[in-house]
């Protein structure tokens, strides 16, 4: 357990050292709010059911959790290239503990970033959640962080080098974002895309955040679309399955070692 704590503590320390990363993670949702928010708000201006910027708030928080968790779990790839991963592998700890430490570190960072952004964003769009809403929002953020952090470790254990990272951005992060309900309700999508959306952990996280923050608009169709227990259960299943898969992938010979231990010839 001390080892897991050590891995989490290092992730946190590294994050604080990287000032650019801190600023980017806090600034990113506001860039979306201003640029995407302005455009979409104008398109939807005719319908006065909800201010688009308010509608975006849960999705933006989900986005912060996603970037925070995925990117920090993907730091496993840089750890492998820098050799730091080998320090963890030669330590007397199970591979599962490395996966768990990485995923928990990602959860912690994702949650911390989402809380900071929520503190700035919600007053800005004049969204005042109830106490129950805030607690549900915290649950949503932590569960999403775990599910996405575990997914990040799975990706990191599967991709060979940092160069493949652009592929991850294009084919994982952006589709996940657009098919999460962060920018428009999932119910407007066709059946095929809706099916894909429900295979997306972020969709459940954003849905839970809508339950937490947009309950006042549930009557006009902008609240959560799925039952709260289903959202929670889906996120828990993603988190547990992801952690198990991540531990297995890291445990394989070559799972973490293929670049670190390739024979130099």
């Amino acid at each position: 357990m001390r080892a897991v704590y050590g891995i989490v503590a290092r992730e946190f320390l590294r994050f604080l050292r990287q000032r650019g990363r801190v600023l980017a993670s806090i600034g990113r949702p506001f860039v979306w709010l201003v640029f995407a928010g302005a455009g979409f708000a104008a398109v939807f201006a005719g319908r006065n059911e909800i201010d688009y910027r308010v509608y975006m708030a849960p999705g933006l928080l989900g986005m912060v959790v996603m970037f925070g968790s995925l990117l920090s779990a993907l730091s496993t790839v840089t750890d492998r290239e820098a050799g730091v991963l080998r320090m963890m592998l030669v330590a007397p700890i199970r591979r599962g503990a490395v996966a768990l430490g990485k995923a928990l570190g990602a959860t912690l960072l994702g949650t911390a970033q989402a809380l900071v952004v929520a503190g700035l964003l919600l007053p800005l769009v004049q969204l005042r959640p109830t106490l129950a809403g805030m607690l549900l929002g915290l649950v949503a953020v932590v569960l999403s962080g775990l599910a996405l952090g575990a997914l990040g470790v799975v990706l990191a254990a599967s991709i060979r080098s940092i160069e493949n990272f652009a592929g991850v951005m294009n084919f994982v992060i952006f589709p996940m974002l657009f098919l999460s309900g962060a920018l428009y309700p999932v119910r407007h999508l066709g059946p095929a895309l809706r099916a894909v959306a429900y295979a997306n952990p972020l969709a459940y996280g954003v849905d839970l955040l809508k339950h937490a923050l947009l309950s006042a608009w549930a009557g006009v169709g902008y609240g959560g679309e799925l039952p709260v227990p289903l959202d929670c259960a889906a996120l828990a299943v993603f988190a547990i399955a992801g952690l198990a898969l991540a531990a297995w992938l890291l445990g394989r010979e070559g799972g973490v070692t293929h670049t670190a231990f390739r024979e130099r010839r």
């Binding site: 001390r2 080892a3 704590y5 050590g6 891995i7 503590a9 290092r10 320390l13 590294r14 050292r17 990287q18 820098a82 050799g83 730091v84 080998r86 320090m87 963890m88 592998l89 030669v90 330590a91 007397p92 700890i93 199970r94 010979e253 070692t257 231990f261 024979e263 130099r264 010839r265």
Partner: protein, 250 residues
């Protein structure tokens, strides 16, 4: 005969069609200073990674500190320290942060780790740089910090994989002084891999590897006597028909 720190029987590893290590029989005594000498690609690093449970053997068995490498990985890793060929330190963290991170990975409680970290930093002349990021350190200092990281948990057996690679002669000399001091103070078993003949000279015994096979084993003096030559360089030549320097990079 002292108890064996390392015992390998028919140990081998293939990478696809490539036979990196054929069938190695090896016994390293407790407290011994043992050298694995051979050109790059001879199977030295593969041997170390097999013994450290980072690779699974393709054939044969090995016991390290009495534990089976295939089935008792955690127990093996608890008994060993390993300094890799390339640094494993986090360049963005400070020297002290790296050592604290390692202490947690090895589950050392803070009250045990703190005085040990201080003592190691003093011993390795890193006290003044303890709060500097590792990326600002010279190669020699980084290596010293790597070794401090490797012995922080006071392992019974220490693997040093090409520890002097990329160091200038002065840093190299000071590294050897440290390893000598360490052995005198703690009696730790050291298994060293190197392709520099002169670094194998002070070893108690040397195993010469070439193309994944053990070609000679003995004390440096015995090896030279057996081959009827005056240096380990010539021992390698006598056993393989090639000079060590030329075999390099092959």
């Amino acid at each position: 005969m002292t108890a064996a720190a390392i015992l390998a029987r028919g140990l081998g590893k293939d990478f696809g069609a490539l036979r990196a290590l054929d069938r190695l029989d090896l016994e390293v005594g407790d407290g011994e200073f043992f050298g694995l000498l051979g050109p790059n690609g001879a199977g030295k690093t593969t041997t170390v990674h097999l013994l450290a449970t980072l690779l699974a053997p393709s054939r044969g068995t090995a016991r390290v500190a009495g534990h089976d490498v295939a089935h008792e990985g955690l127990a093996v890793r608890r008994s060993i320290g390993l300094v890799f060929q390339d640094t494993t330190l986090d360049r963005d963290l400070t020297v002290a942060e790296n050592l604290r991170f390692a202490a947690r990975l090895w589950s050392l409680p803070g009250r045990v780790a703190r005085p040990r970290i201080d003592a190691l930093l003093r011993q390795f002349e890193l006290l003044e740089r303890r709060d500097d990021p590792v990326r600002t350190l010279s190669g020699g200092m980084r290596r010293a910090a790597d070794i401090a990281r490797g012995i922080l948990h006071e392992p019974r057996i220490l693997f040093l994989d090409e520890p002097t690679a990329g160091l200038d002669p002065r840093a190299r000399r000071s590294l050897w002084d440290r390893i000598r001091g360490l052995r005198a103070a703690s009696g730790v078993t050291v298994l060293l891999t190197t392709h520099y003949v002169e670094e194998a000279e002070p070893c108690d015994r040397v195993a010469v590897l070439d193309h994944g096979r053990l070609v000679a084993l003995g004390t440096p003096a015995d090896l030279k006597r057996g081959a009827g030559v005056g240096s380990l360089e010539e021992v390698f030549l006598a056993h393989t028909g090639r000079p060590l320097a030329e075999a390099e990079g092959g």
